[in-house]
Structure formats: structure tokens, C-alpha cells
Symmetry: C2
Subunit: 310 residues, 2 copies
């Protein structure tokens, strides 16, 4: 077995099947190999270039010709594809899954996973949805890296009636990859991630588009002076478009609820600016610093002044 001191004595999984080998899928392949979390890693991607590239990079022990083929005989199948693809993939792989297989995923919204996959999986196959809260603004098999999940949270949202063994297997798998595993109710997960991830992405996409549409300020000016703050939003707004479309469509209620609160607060802020309420502005701009300090203390961020990009 390869892997570092954090890996346990035996692999968590004998045969791991990855459906999708983009940023997350390819990082999973790298991390599972480096930390000895799976004996055999098989992969498939609907994008033939991504699959060929993952094979070329030596990330896979076996390259499959379809989602059904890769899932056959696997102990753990992980969907690493946009949420909108789950129902079709579920229908395709269901007849080929042997009893005892555990199906999981890495999607950013979780109630929809039970809805789309839970219904089609055969008896004897367990569904344990997972969400590693990790990623970068880049996409594709070249963008992945083995340490992506280290010191990051992985949230499991097993159905209420899930058997303990499959949940323990997925938990052990992610712990081997360096993540801290937490369990959560899927609805609550979707609310938490709406504010910590989905709405931030939507706001970033939105302001980049607003800037792009201006006629009073040229595009070249927006680009030239982006170091004043705008460039940080373009980083987030460079994330995978299909993935984010599917997150919006599949976590609609929670996203709309959080967006409504955000715009309510923004309207109050606009009003404070219009009426010159300096004390109110100062209070708002001061209390946000404390939250950043707590995020840094929790090990989820570096204190280095990256906004200055030294």
C-alpha cells in the first residue's frame, strides 16, 4: 500500500469506480492512490478527452467505456458529475450494480440526490451521498491534485434508514483522504451551503456580468483596474458553468431564500449610503472582520494577505 502516515492499515475499498474524472474525480483518483484508500481505481467520463487525459496521466487502473461498465463489480461508486446527470446515470448503472455496492457522489446540493438516485437504485445497494467542501476555480483532470481534500470538511447525508456499514465505509474512505467527516440532514446541508457557497458564487457571477454590460465604463477599464477587488470575484466566477447551473436548479428553494435575505440586506445598505449614515456603515464594515478571524483560526483559510498577491 502507498500513502502516508495518515492512511490506515487496509484500504477502505477494494474496487472504486469513479464516474467523472474532472477536477474532483481526478483529485479523488490521485488522493485514493496516494493514501491507499482503494485497491483498484476504475474510471469513466462522458467527455472522451477527459477520460483519455486521466488515463494518460496514469490516474486510473482501469478505463471503462460507459458508466454502467465502470459500476459493474465496484464496491464503491462515486458520481463526480454535475447534479443534472444523476437521474440518467442512476438509471443506467442500476441494473449492473451487485448487492452490497455503495453508491455515493460529491455534489454540492444533497436533497436532490435522494430524489434522483434514491428511487432508481435496486434493493441491496446503499446510497450514501457525500459533499467534500473543497474545490478550485479550475476544471478538468489536469486541475486535480491529491491534497485537495486534506483538512477540508466532507459532509455525508445518508437517508434516515441507512444501514450503519455503508455509511461507515464512506466515512472511512474520506477520512483516509484527509477530510474531517460530518453527518447532516440533507435539507439542512442545502441551507448551509446555499449561504456559504451557492449564493457567493451567484453574486460573483452576477457582478462580473454587470461589469461586462456597462456602457459608461469600457471592458478594458474593468480589466485594467480589477486589482481593486473585482478580480477576486472573477476567480469564483470562473468555476465550472454546468456544475453551477445544476446547483441552482437543484437547490432552488434554499438559494432563493438566501438570495432574498442578501438583497434585503443590500437594500438596507443602499439606503444607508444614500442617507449618509456613516455610523451604520462603520458598524457593518467592522463586524465582518471578526468572522474572517474565526475562519482563519478554524484552519479554513490562510492569514497571508493574498488580496495583495505578493
Amino acid at each position: 500500500m502507498s500513502g502516508g502516515g495518515t492512511a490506515a492499515a487496509a484500504p477502505a475499498v477494494r474496487r472504486l469506480a469513479l464516474i467523472g474524472v474532472g477536477l474532483i474525480g481526478s483529485s479523488l483518483a490521485r488522493a485514493a492512490r496516494a493514501r491507499g484508500a482503494a485497491e483498484v481505481i476504475a474510471g469513466y467520463d462522458a467527455n472522451p478527452q477527459h477520460l483519455a487525459r486521466a488515463a494518460e496521466l496514469g490516474l486510473l487502473d482501469e478505463v471503462a467505456g460507459s458508466a454502467a461498465a465502470v459500476a459493474e463489480g465496484a464496491d464503491l461508486v462515486i458520481l463526480c458529475t454535475p447534479l443534472g446527470s444523476y437521474a440518467a446515470i442512476g438509471a443506467e448503472i442500476a441494473p449492473r450494480l451487485r448487492p452490497g455496492t455503495v453508491v455515493s457522489d460529491v455534489g454540492s446540493s444533497k436533497a436532490c440526490v435522494l430524489r434522483d438516485l434514491g428511487a432508481v437504485l435496486p434493493d441491496g445497494v446503499a446510497l450514501v451521498p457525500a459533499h467534500p467542501v473543497a474545490g478550485t476555480e479550475q476544471s478538468g483532470p489536469d486541475a486535480g491534485f491529491a491534497e485537495l481534500f486534506v483538512n477540508r470538511w466532507c459532509i455525508l447525508t445518508p437517508p434516515e434508514d441507512a444501514a450503519p456499514e455503508p455509511v461507515a465505509l464512506v466515512e472511512r474512505f474520506w477520512a483516509l483522504l484527509g477530510s474531517t467527516v460530518e453527518r447532516m440532514d440533507p435539507q439542512h446541508h442545502d441551507l448551509v451551503l446555499a449561504i456559504t457557497s451557492h449564493v457567493p458564487h451567484l453574486i460573483a457571477y452576477n457582478i462580473v456580468a454587470t461589469a461586462d454590460d456597462l456602457e459608461s465604463v469600457t471592458k478594458s477599464e474593468v480589466i485594467k483596474y480589477s486589482a481593486g477587488g473585482f478580480r477576486d470575484f472573477t476567480r469564483i466566477a470562473a468555476s465550472d458553468p454546468v456544475m453551477w447551473r445544476d446547483v441552482c436548479l437543484n437547490n432552488r428553494e434554499a438559494v432563493l431564500e438566501m438570495l432574498a435575505r442578501f438583497t434585503e440586506d443590500l437594500t438596507a445598505l443602499q439606503r444607508a449610503i444614500r442617507w449618509g449614515e456613516g455610523d451604520r456603515l462603520l458598524e457593518l464594515f467592522t463586524r465582518t472582520r471578526a468572522i474572517r478571524r474565526q475562519i482563519i483560526d478554524a484552519g479554513q483559510e490562510t492569514a497571508a494577505p493574498d488580496f495583495g498577491r505578493r
Copy 2:
């Protein structure tokens, strides 16, 4: 003369007076020294701890007891304080400025500088407002560094009737520090920076506050799962509160105009999510990638996947 190959044969300025030695003022002191842009660097800060610290760090040749004292006899006086302090500082230093002195600043909003400083300066003293589009989310003299302005834009907004010599002096000073200097009409500057800097900061402050106020999601959950995107906003929302209060109050019209466009676009985005308009979402999330690419190509950002914080 110290400084690297980019510095010209002679210092741009004999006696440089810095009013304010926080992140920007202390970076200016470091950069001017490193690149031989001034013979003597004198400094003052209304915060005695900042002033003592800048002296302790050896950033200043002379430490003054007041804004008036530091400005006396200076060739170039640069205000590195929040915009709200300009009128009072202008009134204090005006009687002590000798003819031929050039007064400049580093503020993020520019029409207000002509309004607040232009009226109080005596004849024979030139006002050449400047805005280095550079900074980090940190504050104070310890946060500064000499390379902060390298490859960044510095925008000058001289009055229409400005004499060429003082403008050339300020231009040369910033070029020595490694910046690319541009001239702009102050009103247009305020519009450009509203979208590239001011509104991004306001949105970041706003979402951090929205998250902080939720009752359905705990603060500890917001902090734990912040790597999904939220933490990037807290970085921007950690910038100096007084500085940002003063930017809002002094660039009110342009900020409100850009905020109105942003919320209009956000309302359309909310509607697209509510009605499940996947094509529209995909189009929006796709076109924003191109802008990031152009910012990277323009040298204003790194292509490294910092969102993953490797």
C-alpha cells in the same frame, strides 16, 4: 541612491511628507526608500501607535508631531488617510505649505478630493490627486511592503487647469515605484472604481453580514464550511472599515448607480433560477470566464488556483 534598475538617475522628490503611515503610507515609505524616489521621507500619523511603529521599523527619516509640521518645507505631501479626513487636514496644513509644494493623495474616490482639498490650498500650491489601484485586506504599518505598487495602475486626476510640472512630478514619482501611470477625469474615475472596487467590497461586506444574521444556519457552520466560496468574500470584507465608510460617503452617486445595476441583474438572475431557465444560467456562468482570462493576460492576476489554497 538605492533602488533597482527601474529607478532613474535622480530622486523624483527631495522632501516627501507622508500624512498617514498605515498599509499604503508605510508601503509608500518603503517603496520610495527602496527605489530612491525621495531624498528625505518624513511622516506623521494621527494614531500615535502607528507613527511609533513606523519609526521603530525605520521607515521614516523624520517623525513629525503634526500634519502641519510634516507638510512644512515638503516638496510633495501625500495624504494616506481616509477620505473623510481630507478637509480638516487641508485646513491644517494650508498655512504651512510653501509655494511650489505639490499636494497629492492615495484615496479611492477622486471627485471629492478636488472638492475638499482644492478649495483650501493656497495659491502656488498644486493639487494632483492620485489613486494607486493596489492594496491588501490588511491594515497598519506592519502590513505594508515595498512591492505593493509594482505592475499596478496609478490613476492621476489633476484639475483641468493644472500646470504640467506638478503633474509630471507625481507621474515620475509613481513610475519610480513601479506603477503604470494613467490620467483620468475624476468623475469617470469614480464610475470605473465604483464597479471594479467599491461595489465588490460592498457586496462582500453585505453577504458576510447576511450570513452572520441567519438563525437557521449557525455561525459555526458558516465558519466550518466557508471553503465553498464564502471565505473569499471575508477576505475582501476584512479591509479597513473607516476607509470604506469614507469611500461610500464620498462616492455616493456612482456607488448607488452601480449598486442599482447590480441588483437589477441579480433580480433577473433570481427570476431565472425560480423559473428553472437552465440555458440562461449556463450562458451567464459561461461568459464570465472570458473576463477572468483577460485579467490574467493583462498581468493583473495570477492563474494559479488560489481558490484551492494549495
